[in-house]
């Protein structure tokens, strides 16, 4: 009953519960995110309910459940950034893009994530778009930064 599409993703796994995380990682690598179909297939393969798989997967911030956008924005919510208004940046971005963290805009231009410390606390608050780091970010600069990405 398991789709052929998922066949090679499961290859090499014995179907034990401990295989869940590595399988999820493989799915994410291949599809870019954890699709509903993948969760269904994993559920049948490992005989774990979809609900539990989702619970486990959503615990780890490395897994995402929506198709990634062409550009991905990460807003730092680490301690230093928080103190210097990272929260506000996040809120403004959500409003600007009309999505909440973890989602992708309808035109697939951006996806947005809140992440823990990006490792450059001295430059807080920080956002990252694709591989570019923007330090000492302000709400006013956000708009012009976004415009650089298509």
């Amino acid at each position: 009953m398991i789709d052929r599409e998922w066949g090679d993703i499961f290859s090499g796994f014995a179907g034990e519960q401990g295989d869940l995380i590595p399988i999820l990682q493989r799915v994410q690598e291949k599809a870019g995110y954890i699709t509903k179909g993948a969760i269904e297939a994993i559920s049948q393969f490992l005989k774990i309910s979809e609900n539990q798989i989702f619970g486990v997967a959503s615990f780890y911030s490395q897994f995402r459940f929506t198709e990634p956008g062409r550009n991905s924005i990460k807003v730092c919510m680490g301690t230093a950034c928080h103190v210097r208004g990272g929260q506000i940046l996040g809120d403004v971005l959500e409003r600007e893009l009309a999505i909440s963290a973890g989602q992708t805009t309808e035109d697939k231009r951006f996806d947005l994530q809140r992440v823990a410390c990006l490792g450059c606390c001295a430059l807080a608050p920080v956002i990252q778009i694709n591989d570019d780091i923007y330090s000492r970010m302000t709400v006013i600069r956000l708009k012009e930064v976004l415009e650089k990405y298509e």
Binding site: K47, I48, N51, G55
Partner: protein
């Protein structure tokens, strides 16, 4: 080994205690009456150690270990409520409460408010600030009280989560949730339904199914087990939300199916406000299905309950007194010749009601026309079904079986307590095989799912019978393998598994019972069981089918299950009852008696006639609700529901169990036996002066083995041991095959089985409408796509002489070209399956 190895000596709060070795500190404290506050621990669940409310001081251990997860050790010195511990607890509790609506916990006016609501400003004057349905029965309140917490030093953070009300029976307000994880552990460890999980993490943590699915979409069985263990008001029963605390409880037997679970009815005043599982290891072991857990209260409390007798005249309802009603009934009955009288009774009635009913027909009316609605439900397979009941094994045998074969069984909503046992068995290493044309909750957990087309069911079972026959097994296997490829392979594997299994059990559901070949299917199951030395357990939908047979509520059967053609028995009975009782003519079919011709008086007890011309000149309708269509009843008598009457009932395993009266029936309603006795006495008949149920029970014990102790009936499982047989009409195969037109679809029809006293539960229980299919037709996704149908669309199915519109439901895993219709009453069942065409209804 010495005694020392089993117990250890500890010191708790300066008391020296000798406790069992395997206990946790918390358990040791509870055994010795020492209170330790807890929030996430629950006796039925594994320790979680999440709330840290149970911290204690242990000499020599660093920090404060949690009592619920730390095992006792020899010589441990424990202090449960030092000032430091209490302070720490208060601190932790404040943290928990900083994310919890807390007006009911720390309001300065709390106590005064309870009395006279002096400071009410913005809340309703009647209710006060009731944000939480758990008020007054909340474990969080208890702990706050114990720790004497008066204020919270942390900023309050309201999570602003939407209250989830979209599922039937219970609401979820996760703003009140303290993330104790009890609901998750209940759903995973005990129910093994795996609907709930922690999602996200940190501050975002919420509980629920995958994505934003509703519980219904996520496979929830609505067993309510999670609601029962929630310490807060986060999970709350819709119907019981604001009912408050129960005043008393009564343990009784659920009468909504043949499993016969023990339930605890919660009672307030003269109202049953809730039902919870009783901790009874024999049948349901602390679990219930959605019917027993949530449907009982709504079923018995609906405002449309019959309260007074009335008669109908020219379409008008005329309220009359019991006196007048009994008189009218007596008059009509005394004018009625024996062969033109009919009495139909519900197999949901107690033994005592059924016994009095058949005695009424035989003694008062001198008639053999007594029957139950089970005859229609089982149709031609009725006798074959009883034959399986003669071989039945107790449900507890599932725990010994290494292999369980389920035939036509679905345990998602009805019988979900059996589903729990199945999953437990799997956890123990047993294998489950399910044979079912339809995809349901068992296919996911089963080792193998054999999915025959509905009309291949017989063939498949017969092949299994052949394959498991001792002689010639090998040759059969290879022969069929050559012929049918995959399925045959599977079959021989299953046969092999059955052959090698130790004490296998076959569970029989009811999904194929209305099919034409149900007798053949049932017979094949019997043979298969004999071949493989398997136990069989049919799981009847009717709560007291077993009792209806033993009480003799059929023309062919006398009390004790003796054949009514047996002259000796009938004479013996005549003598004991001091009345002439009729013998059943040996060649007649029982069906023709009631359903065939027009009667003068038809007496319906817990039976709702299908929507068509009444069968009789005068119909007495005795039930808890009015019949759907007025004009079907000439005299309406209000009866008691199972929560309002005493008696006994026999479940599918053959356990005689008590039904206990929890409250008085509404208005002037009376138990069935009492109404029957009153009419009989009015007609001057002897042998009906029973003053209570106990006396009836005593009389039954003269005819039926196992009866006698009313207060404590024999609750031992036993197969149905009767001599008599039911006579059923075997229908010949469908007759001429219409080969000229190849039908695009085959429609399989089944009747709803969630019925109490003739009424589908959906009539009176709002939430049930979402769960139980009625007047629907299930379509495979491929067919639906082709015809442009989506779930909820109205479709028309038709073939030559009939046409019917039904609601479509799209069901994955269903074969193409197959339709499954569920009807309220099984009209046009013949032949089943039926060839049909289907189209979307034009709008």
């Amino acid at each position: 080994m010495s005694k020392r190895s089993k117990t250890v000596k500890i010191t708790m709060d300066n008391k020296v205690l000798q406790v069992k070795r395997k206990l946790t500190i918390l358990q040791a404290a509870e055994c010795n009456g020492i209170y330790i506050p807890t929030l996430c621990a629950h006796e039925a669940l594994t320790p979680f150690g999440g709330c840290r409310m149970c911290i204690v001081e242990v000499e020599g251990m660093r920090g404060f270990p949690t009592a619920c997860t730390t095992p006792v050790e020899e010589g441990m010195v424990i202090r449960t409520h030092t000032a430091q511990v209490q302070n720490e607890r208060r601190e932790i509790l404040q943290l928990i409460l900083s994310e919890h609506t807390s007006s009911c916990l720390i309001c300065g006016q709390k106590d005064e408010c309870r009395e006279y609501m002096g400071t009410i400003r913005k809340a309703g004057v009647i209710t006060g600030c009731r944000y939480c349905p758990n008020d007054g029965q909340c474990e969080l309140q208890d702990v706050v009280e114990y720790l004497g917490l008066k204020e919270i030093d942390y900023p309050i953070y309201y999570r602003q989560l939407r209250v989830e009300k979209e599922d039937p029976f219970y609401d979820r307000d996760y703003n009140l949730c303290i993330l104790c994880g009890r609901c998750i552990r209940m759903c995973q460890e005990i129910r093994m339904a795996d609907v709930l999980a922690f999602k996200q993490r940190g501050r975002q943590t919420v509980i629920g199914p995958a994505y934003n699915r509703t519980h219904w979409q996520a496979g929830c069985e609505f067993c309510g087990a999670c609601v029962s263990v929630c310490p807060t008001g986060a999970l709350s029963e819709k119907a019981r939300k604001w009912e408050g605390k129960a005043e008393r409880e009564e343990v009784t037997t659920c009468s909504l199916c043949g499993v016969g679970c023990q339930v605890r009815l919660l009672i307030k005043g003269e109202k049953v406000i809730g039902s919870l599982p009783a901790e009874d290891p024999l049948v349901n072991d602390g679990q219930l299905c959605v019917k027993g857990r949530f449907c009982v209260t709504e079923l018995v409390n609906n405002h449309r309950r019959l309260r007074k007798p009335y008669r109908t005249q020219n379409g008008a309802e005329l309220q009359i007194s019991w006196e007048q009603a009994i008189e009218l009934a007596a008059k009509k009955l005394s004018d009625c010749p024996a062969e033109r009288f009919g009495l139909l009774v519900s197999p949901n009635c107690t033994n005592e009601d059924l016994y009095v009913a058949q005695k009424f027909a035989r003694v008062v009316m001198g008639s053999v026309n007594i029957d139950t609605t089970a005859r229609k439900f089982y149709g031609p397979g009725f006798n074959a079904y009883l034959n399986l009941m003669r071989m039945s094994v107790p449900l507890a045998d599932l725990s010994k079986a290494s292999l369980i074969l389920c035939v036509g069984l679905d345990t998602r909503f009805g019988r979900s307590v059996v589903g729990v046992q199945l999953r437990k068995a799997i956890g123990r290493g047993a294998k489950v095989i399910t044979i079912n044309p339809r995809n349901n909750n068992l296919t996911m957990i089963a080792e193998k799912w054999l999915q025959p087309a509905p009309d291949e069911m017989v063939h498949l079972l017969r092949s299994l019978v052949k394959l498991t026959e001792k002689k010639g097994r090998r040759t059969m296997m290879s022969a069929s393998r050559r012929k049918r490829g995959d399925l045959a392979d599977e079959l021989s594997q299953v046969a092999e598994m059955l052959g090698e299994a130790c004490s296998p059990v076959i569970l029989v559901g009811s999904e194929f019972l209305q099919r034409r070949e149900s007798p053949q299917i049932l017979e094949a199951i019997g043979k298969l069981a004999r071949n493989t030395c398997a136990g069989v357990l049919p799981l009847p939908a009717q709560s007291n089918l077993y009792g209806s047979v033993l009480m003799g509520a059929y023309p062919e059967l006398l009390p004790g299950g003796f054949s009514s053609t047996d002259k000796g028995r009938a004479d013996d009975l005549s003598e004991r009852w001091s009345a002439d009782i009729p013998t059943f003519p040996s060649r007649r079919s029982a069906e023709a008696l009631l359903w065939g011709r027009k009667l003068k008086v038809l007496y319906l007890i817990g039976v709702v006639p299908p929507n068509r011309e009444p069968h009789s000149d005068f119909t007495i309708f005795q039930n808890i609700y009015p019949s759907g269509s007025p004009g079907q009843a000439d005299l309406v008598l209000p009866a008691a529901a199972f929560t309002e009457t005493d008696g006994t009932s026999i479940n599918g395993e053959g356990r005689i169990q008590r039904v206990r009266k929890a409250v008085h029936p509404p208005g002037e309603a009376l138990p069935d036996w009492e109404i029957l006795c009153r009419i009989a006495r009015k007609l001057g008949k002897k042998g009906f002066d029973f003053g209570n149920v106990r006396q009836i029970h005593k009389e039954i014990s003269r005819f039926v083995a196992g009866f006698g102790n009313f207060a404590k009936p024999r609750r031992k499982a036993s197969p149905l041991l009767i001599e008599g047989e039911l006579r059923v009409v075997r229908r010949k195969s469908a007759g001429k095959k219409r080969a000229d037109k190849k039908p695009p679809f085959m429609m399989n029809v089944s009747t709803v089985e969630h019925i109490y006293r003739g009424f589908p539960l959906t009539d009176w229980v709002e939430g049930a409408r979402m769960l139980f299919a009625e007047e629907t037709v299930d379509v495979s996704p491929e067919d639906a796509k082709k015809l442009g149908i989506s779930t909820g669309d109205e479709v028309v199915v038709s073939w030559e002489h009939f046409q019917k519109s039904l609601l479509a439901r799209i069901v994955s895993g269903q074969q193409r070209g197959m339709l499954y219709a569920t009807l309220r009453n099984g009209e046009f069942i013949e032949p089943n399956p039926h060839p049909v065409i289907m189209r979307k209804k034009d709008v």
